[in-house]
């Protein structure tokens, strides 16, 4: 029988929705018994949120001051100390999980299965390679611990309605002091979170400046959408880097994705393959984005954006 440990992602006070997505992935393994581990300085509220996720058997907490910030070098030994009781250890494919899980895998002496998009068997999975241009079915050794990340865009968040027991875990390990958290700079925003929003409006290089990128924010506000961007727009400084969508940015699966002045490079498309409806506005009718867009409008964005925003605001 599979015993799965999921490593919760949180910001110190609230659980990240990526955790409930990992639970869906784990639940796809036959007969899986699922525990969630919360590493935090103070786990209370976060653990309660994890305990509410359907399908979770137990929530384990590892509370120590060193866990105030998620440092892989500090967390990995604690996870590895608990891994012996499990057949699978899974984290999300977010930057948190991508940083932590390979360190856990190496401490346990195994390779990691990155970005599980489908479960074919307890040790057989599908994952994307080459920026999603190929899907490979992989089989990990059945007699070794399986460490993996779940590709969050491939899994729905498991529903909440559970009240699993919460217990303190014996995650004892010597923790290093060679890695120190200094701080984080986030562009404060009241807008929906890019990774979980059901609607996203994204802008590309064609916006031309930070001021003109406001056109993207204006349409997003009317739709209650999150804002995304191509790498070119981020590199040009039109918007903050955490808005980047694509192979090296965020991989998202909103119901509606509106791409404005984005050409549709492979690396960008990787990020939106699982979107419900893709809308593209681009003045070049040959732009590759039109090969995948469900609805395309060939037009100068500066001519149509004000009209579109006005039309959708009433």
């Amino acid at each position: 029988m599979a015993k799965v440990l999921i490593i919760a992602e949180h910001d110190g006070s609230a659980l990240n929705p990526a955790t409930a997505k990992c639970v869906s992935c784990a639940a796809a393994i036959d007969g899986a018994e699922i525990d969630v581990l919360v590493l935090a300085a103070s786990a209370g509220e976060i653990a309660a949120q994890a305990a509410a996720i359907d399908g979770v058997s137990r929530v384990l907490t590892a509370e120590r001051p060193e866990n105030e910030h998620a440092l892989a070098a500090v967390q990995a030994p604690q996870v590895a100390a608990l891994a012996g009781d499990y057949t699978h250890v899974i984290g999300p494919s977010t930057t948190f999980g991508r940083d932590l899980m390979p360190r856990v895998a190496a401490l346990c002496g195994v390779n990691q299965v990155t970005d599980i998009m489908a479960v074919e068997g307890s040790h057989t999975f599908k994952r994307p390679i080459y920026a999603g241009n190929a899907i490979v079915t992989v089989e990990a050794p059945g007699d070794a611990l399986l460490v993996a990340t779940a590709r969050v865009a491939s899994w729905p968040a498991a529903a909440a309605g559970n009240s699993a027991p919460i217990e303190a875990a014996a995650a004892d390990a010597d923790l290093p002091t060679h890695t120190r958290y200094v701080g984080i700079e986030s562009a404060a925003s009241d807008r929906p979170d890019l990774q979980t929003a059901s609607r996203v409006v994204a802008g590309g290089r064609a916006l031309g400046s930070e001021e003109q990128f406001q056109l993207v924010y204006q349409l997003a506000d009317v739709l209650g959408a999150a804002v995304g961007a191509s790498r070119a727009a981020v590199d040009a400084g039109y918007c903050p880097n955490e808005l980047q969508v694509g192979q090296t940015g965020k991989i998202i699966a909103p119901e509606l994705y509106i791409a404005i002045g984005i050409s549709g490079a492979i690396q960008h498309m990787t990020g939106i393959k699982d979107a419900g409806t893709i809308v593209a506005i681009n003045k070049d009718e040959e732009a590759p984005i039109f090969e995948v867009a469900d609805v395309g409008l060939v037009a100068d964005l500066f001519a149509v954006m004000p009209e579109l925003t006005a039309a959708l605001s009433n």
Partner: protein, 249 residues
């Protein structure tokens, strides 16, 4: 600081739209343009800048792979690496074994910094740097978009989902780099000529006494579910009604 090791993986060029072979046994790599993994070029550029700022004495480029990877190492030497090492491996090798190779080299060379790409764009696995840091028992600073060295400490800005995180790590350490860290320099013809005279050593896997770990088998390859080309609308009104029809607004 003494030495910096940089990993240069030979991969299918990022401009190539890779195709899955019709029998599902792999992806087509015959006659396809190969390059240095783009992240690794950025790692090398950063290492060279650290050296040029007087914070390192030597930059060593390392590739693990077949003889073909000599091309990428020569490019790395032309960019400015002092010497190169090719660890000869036939066929595929798993990330944990690659990490073990880097650890063996880091110890052998007494390297204080190993700079790698945040991911190889072929397998997109994002594992080697973190694994190396784990088994070497050293800090990792992944997804770096800013690096500054101050004595025995590196201050690294990391691109994380929530924004830009800063961490401080004691050297020796592993840094994995993201795209916005720098713009790699262009190689000029005289540099290519000079690079021919720089040392490029070949090492067999056995010389490093590395054993390959339990590997993950690749059973089958398939193209992704394609998206269909949709409709074109003529104007904003057409767009709005298409969205209404789909129940999206």
């Amino acid at each position: 600081m003494d030495k910096i090791i940089v990993g240069l993986k030979r991969v299918v060029d990022y401009n190539v739209r890779v195709q899955v072979k019709s029998d599902g046994s792999g992806v087509e790599t015959d006659g396809v343009k190969m390059s240095i993994n783009p992240f690794d070029e950025i790692a090398l550029e950063e290492a060279l800048r650290i050296k040029e700022a007087g914070n390192a004495s030597e930059v060593i480029a390392v590739s693990i792979g077949g003889s073909d990877a000599q091309q990428q190492l020569r490019t790395g030497l032309a960019m400015g690496a002092d010497r190169a090492i090719l660890v000869k491996v036939d066929g595929d090798i798993d990330p944990l074994s690659v990490a073990r190779i880097f650890k063996a080299l880091a110890e052998k060379e007494g390297a204080e910094l190993v700079m790698l790409g945040k991911q190889a764009i072929d397998d997109d696995s994002t594992q080697v740097p973190q694994m190396l840091a784990a088994i070497w028992d050293r800090p990792q600073a992944t997804f770096a978009s800013g690096v500054s060295i101050d004595g025995n400490v590196a201050k690294v800005v990391r691109e994380v989902d929530a924004g830009l995180e800063t961490v401080e790590v004691d050297l020796p350490a592993v840094i994995s780099v993201d795209l916005r860290l720098n713009e790699p320099r262009y190689v000029k013809l005289p540099d290519i000529m000079k690079a021919k005279k720089k040392p490029l050593d070949e090492i067999a896997l056995a010389d490093l006494s590395v054993e390959a770990g339990p590997t993950i088998k690749e059973l089958a390859f398939a193209p992704p579910d394609g998206r269909q080309r949709g409709i074109k609308v003529d104007d904003v009104a057409g767009l709005v009604s298409a969205l209404k029809e789909k129940g999206l607004v």
